[in-house]
Amino acid sequence: MIQAALNIVGWVGLVGGGAFVIVGALGLVRLPDVYSRMHAAGITDTMGAWLMLVGMMAQSPDWLTAVKLFLIIVLIFFTSPTSTYALANAAYGGGVKPVGRDEEGASSNS
């Protein structure tokens, strides 16, 4: 019974996580400017990574593997926003202006 539940969690986690990773990557390609693409990359880092890692935790053979996966989750939880913030700070400092509603098309003018 438990094994069936773990398998379901594993399947939902991995396939759902994979879907979010692809959605994040699609957003990374299609969105108009750097700042909105950061949002798309954030989708991959948060929902995609968490679902996949939780799915793997459900499938992990022993406790040590589950703890390692949890550590990876915690690590991504802290480093992803920090690096995105540093990137936004550097981009804004580098002169990249976000796309306003009036102008269209690629706006990264640096």
Binding site: G10, W11, L14, V15, G17, G18, A19, V21, I22, G24, A25, L26, L28, V29, V34, R37, M38, A41, T44, D45, G48, A49, M52, L53, G55, M56, Q59, S60, P61, D62, L64, T65, K68, L69, L71, I72, L75, I76, T79, S80, T82, S83, T84, A86, L87, N89, A90, A91, G93, G94, V96, A106, S108, N109, S110
Partner: protein, 97 residues
Amino acid sequence: MMFAAGTAAIVVAMLLALVRAFLGPSLYDRVLAVNSFGTKTVLMIAVLGFLAGRPDFLDIALLYALINFIGIIAVLKFFRYGDLGRAGPKAAEEEIK
């Protein structure tokens, strides 16, 4: 079998991240794409560790996530202040004046 599905999804996402890395008009698009690619590599190593039945791959994934973060911050600092030698923003302000 589920791990194969996860791996396929990550490979597709990696290709899309590479597309953004090549297309990216500004430097910051490329840094963003490389950062996203690094996170996907972490997930890929973890999934392949499960696929190959080797749970010790997760140490590599953990380490890769750390190094990816540090690499991104180093690149950003280099392009923000011109070189990595400066101690920090205060030192940069004096030198810029």
